[in-house]
Symmetry: C2
Subunit: 374 residues, 2 copies
């Protein structure tokens, strides 16, 4: 087995686990900060590690364009290139080809596209995606698939899912198996339960080190997403990690963990750090709001990140108003730390049989909107 | 005496010293990174301290506009507000009023100006500048003066200098003396030796904790500046620190230390960090240059900053091409560390009687342009 996954405990549908890779262990449920171009934006990698993050996501699409997989390989792989010695998961590039590149043409063989950076033409196939992710030295390689757009008719969703399953097979055949490295399949099928089942069956037949749930969080809304998550994770093999791609807000993650998901990634904490939005136990707030101008309190009481320990809201508000880089650095750090505290809280609650209390406290606090005495 | 200055050793005109403030000691010759708006751009304050910097410069003009001196005072002063517990020097605001603000009107009483941020009208006098710097809790307060533009006729330079000396007297009278805090006078007189002497005499008559050399590095060029520095520092009291404002490039600093200057500030290392320029022992280079694309060497061999220890030139080049914030963070850190290593090198050479060797090695290396084997 290329990647070892231990499930330590189950509580309802939720699972407490440990994923072992060549570059270290990932405790699940886990949140992966996104390091699109070989850097988690505005963070030193040692700071990312200090937040408790044990694994990063890298984007194959961005890295194949700049600096190119060959250069990363020549520099000793992505871990060494970006100075991150813990596990890395890379996506397949498919999603960004569809959302970012120009002049796409999708065929059974693969997808032709033009770089959004310089217009250069590329041809991405399952085999090529495996080759690139291998050069990047990714611990968890994702199959190339088509992320079915939402909304899709049943016929569209079926056709798209079936091609993705053929691509999953080609991905598996092209993947070079190594100890401590693994390949994840991606379930598609939009919001159609029987298509999700067909997709899960096809993936299980091929056999993977882990299984992602794709094609959600693409505009269907939390209610629809949770409906799909009521059945989708349970269709996937019980003994392998389940990864919900591109999700999400804190309450999306809590809801998904309750439905049996083990892994998450999202640009939310990092992107929000660049738009002055902060996640706290009392909900999200925007530090540009004038009410913070003379507030000498920390952003979030009890948070142990540098922003909350060393600075007032008034200071961060001031930095934001002056467009200072330090505001982005500190807010990104806080947000990633918030997400890691959330995951640690869920893991502790699973370990201590206090998941119900943890989750009800989570929702109660989130509803408050800000520190109660405000 | 409000600020104690010890001169430990003199070598030619150069001096090795220690300036004692309420917030700690500054070893001289010293370089002060600039923290314009209450942050050294793109740096955590603990990282600034890790470079070896012992004192920062804050800009009164920027801070009086945003967030305002009253708010900073309410938050416990600038040290606490920005989480920097070492010494801070603030300029008087005069220079930025002239270079940044709109609709200025200069009279004997003071200067009226409109904020470059929101057009709000302000009236800055020597008394008001002292009051603001006191509220900021600055360890070293600078007198309000007029930085005589270059070029100036003898008559213009004389008139401007004489008003600055009257303002210096008013600054001294308005300054609230406290232990561990001090006030610096500023010598003007453009490039006219007798005006520099008159200015020095006027300042000495008033009496200050230190003396700045103002009105240089304003377009006259290094040759003219060094000509003025051949005589200007020696006109100032021997037992007090001498501070050359707004200077400069590494070779400006070395030349000025040889001419008896003890303190420096400049935006050069921080601003360059935002434009991909790096200072190294072999001169300055721009990391955007295509020749760095596949270079797996560190930016500067032997440098102990995180950029040089953990990354290749290829990686920093990649970050720059992708406009990643981390490039700015790492280059700024490196540049400040380079400046601090330069100052430490000068201090060590003064202590060890190897100043001649140090300086000739410095010029020899700078002339190489990059790591020799390139």
């Amino acid at each position: 087995m290329a990647l070892k996954y231990e499930i330590l405990k189950k509580v309802g549908k939720s699972r407490l686990g440990k994923l072992h890779t060549r570059h270290g262990v990932v405790d699940t449920p886990a949140f992966m900060p996104v390091g699109t171009c070989g850097t988690v934006k505005a963070m030193m990698p040692e700071s990312v590690a200090a937040t408790g993050a044990q694994i990063l996501l890298g984007n194959t699409y961005h890295l194949m364009l700049r600096p190119g997989a060959d250069l990363v390989e020549k520099m000793g792989g992505l871990h060494k290139f970006m100075n991150w010695d813990k596990p890395i998961l890379t996506d397949s590039g498919g999603f960004q080809v569809m959302s970012l590149s120009g002049l796409r043409k999708l065929t059974e063989e693969g997808v032709t596209f033009k770089s959004h950076v310089d217009g250069k033409k590329f041809f991405l196939t399952p085999e090529e995606s495996m080759k690139i992710q291998h050069k990047l030295d990714s611990n968890i390689t994702m199959c190339l698939d088509e992320c079915t757009p939402f909304p899709a008719t049943y016929e569209e969703a079926k056709k798209s899912m079936e091609m993705s399953m053929r691509w999953a097979k080609r991905s598996k055949e092209a993947f070079v198996d190594r100890d401590g490295y693994g390949l994840f399949g991606i379930q598609q099928g939009s919001v159609f339960e029987d298509l999700r089942q067909q997709s899960a069956d096809a993936l299980r037949e091929i056999g993977f080190d882990g299984y992602a749930i794709g094609g959600l969080a693409v505009g269907e809304g939390q209610e629809e997403m949770f409906k799909a998550l009521d059945y989708a994770p349970g269709m996937l093999p019980e003994d392998k990690p389940r990864y919900l791609m591109g999700v999400g807000r804190p309450d999306d993650i809590v809801g998904a963990v309750l439905r049996g998901v083990d892994m998450f990634d999202c640009v939310m904490p990092t992107r929000s750090g660049r738009t002055a939005q902060a996640f706290t136990k009392y909900g999200a707030l925007n530090i540009r709001n004038a009410r913070h101008k003379e507030d000498d309190r920390p952003l979030e009481e009890g948070c142990d990140c540098p922003l909350c320990v060393n600075y007032t809201r008034a200071y961060i508000h001031h930095l934001q108003k002056c467009n200072e880089v330090l505001a982005v650095m500190l807010l990104t750090w806080h947000n990633i730390r918030y997400y890691q505290r959330l995951m640690q809280g869920l893991r502790n609650a699973l370990a201590n049989d206090t998941l119900d209390e943890y989750v009800s406290e989570f929702y109660k606090n989130q509803a408050k909107g800000d520190i109660p005495e405000l």
